[in-house]
């Protein structure tokens, strides 16, 4: 069996080794293609393929967000939400720059949704 995943002009092939090879050959005669070898980066996902396992991470994009918000040297915390945080407490108080805040939320949402 051979599975082809197509995203705009990127192709991922998976399945039987021999089928992959012959499929690549056939496609190359029909289209102009570049073989990037084993999948290691796709749509912001870093993929590590090793024998016995596969590891998927978004580390690169996460570090880009940190750079953008000048947080690459910040202190570390263990959980994403501070304990006892209540939304109602946050609805009043000093306002901050809405544009930057929205940029932050947008970047984080992209990270979560991909």
């Amino acid at each position: 069996m051979l599975i082809i995943v197509l995203y705009v002009d990127d192709l991922i092939l998976t399945g039987d080794e021999l089928l992959i090879l012959s499929c690549k050959k056939n496609l190359a005669t029909e289209f102009e293609m570049k073989d990037l070898g084993l999948l290691h980066y796709f749509l912001g996902l870093e993929i590590w393929q090793r024998s016995g396992g596969l590891f998927v991470s978004q580390g690169k994009y996460a570090r880009e967000i940190l750079e953008n918000f000048n947080m690459h040297g910040c202190k570390l915390v263990d959980t994403p939400l501070p304990g006892g945080w209540r939304k109602e407490d946050a609805t009043s108080g000093e306002e901050v720059d809405a544009t930057i805040y929205r940029q932050l939320v947008g970047s984080l949402m992209y990270l979560v949704n991909t």
Partner: protein, 199 residues
């Protein structure tokens, strides 16, 4: 989003702080013998103090690593935790159907009913027994879809103690130890291949 306050900004920065410590983390899919689709469903009851709505959380794993997950605020207010769980479970039912379609499409094999773990006994009973319960008269037909799924052997709800309920992580803020325990159980880990190389 219209008028963000300092506290919201602080919470946002807190997420970045968390992100910095975990930017190397990811999902680790290990080669396993027993690879099966299973799911977890959970709900927090009236988690939102402003409108008293609950949050549904769910996570699906193939083998021991998560492949699909969600955390969604429910659309209507509920009276009991069992009801909140029931609504969360109905969301799971829709996901199960979709995921099973993909699996059958890819591998074409026959699938056993998908086991979904839930930590609420009344919710499980409710899903298995199509009797008209007095206390659940008001629940919309749309949520009873789950009973249909159970009867058609697409899925079944099974009990799991709250401590091992991995979907818990998607419904509310947890303490550090619980958070890390569940995070590990859904297959999130520091990059194992990177660590080895540095040693």
């Amino acid at each position: 989003m219209v008028k963000p306050t300092k506290l919201f900004w602080k919470a946002g920065k807190h997420v970045l702080r968390y992100l910095r410590g975990t930017s190397r983390y990811g999902l680790w899919y290990r080669q396993e013998d027993d690879v099966k689709l299973c799911g977890f469903t959970d709900a927090d009851w009236v988690g939102s103090p402003t409108d008293r709505k609950s949050t549904s959380g769910g996570v699906f794993s193939i083998g021991s690593t998560a492949v699909s997950w969600y955390s969604r605020k429910q659309r209507s207010v509920v009276f009991s935790s069992a009801e909140a769980e029931y609504m969360a479970a109905s969301l799971v039912a829709c996901e199960v159907i979709w995921m099973r379609k993909i699996l059958v499409g890819l591998f074409g094999s026959h699938l056993d009913p998908t086991v979904i773990y839930c930590d609420n006994q009344s919710c499980i009973k409710l899903s298995a027994n199509p009797v008209f319960h007095d206390r659940f008269k008001h629940i919309d037909i749309r949520y009873h879809h789950i009973r249909d799924c159970v009867q058609r052997r697409i899925m079944l709800l099974s009990y799991i103690p709250t401590e091992d309920q991995d979907a818990n992580i998607l419904t509310k803020a947890l303490t550090r130890s619980k958070f890390e325990y569940h995070r590990g159980r859904i297959g999130v880990a520091d990059n194992p291949y990177l660590v080895k190389r540095e040693c």
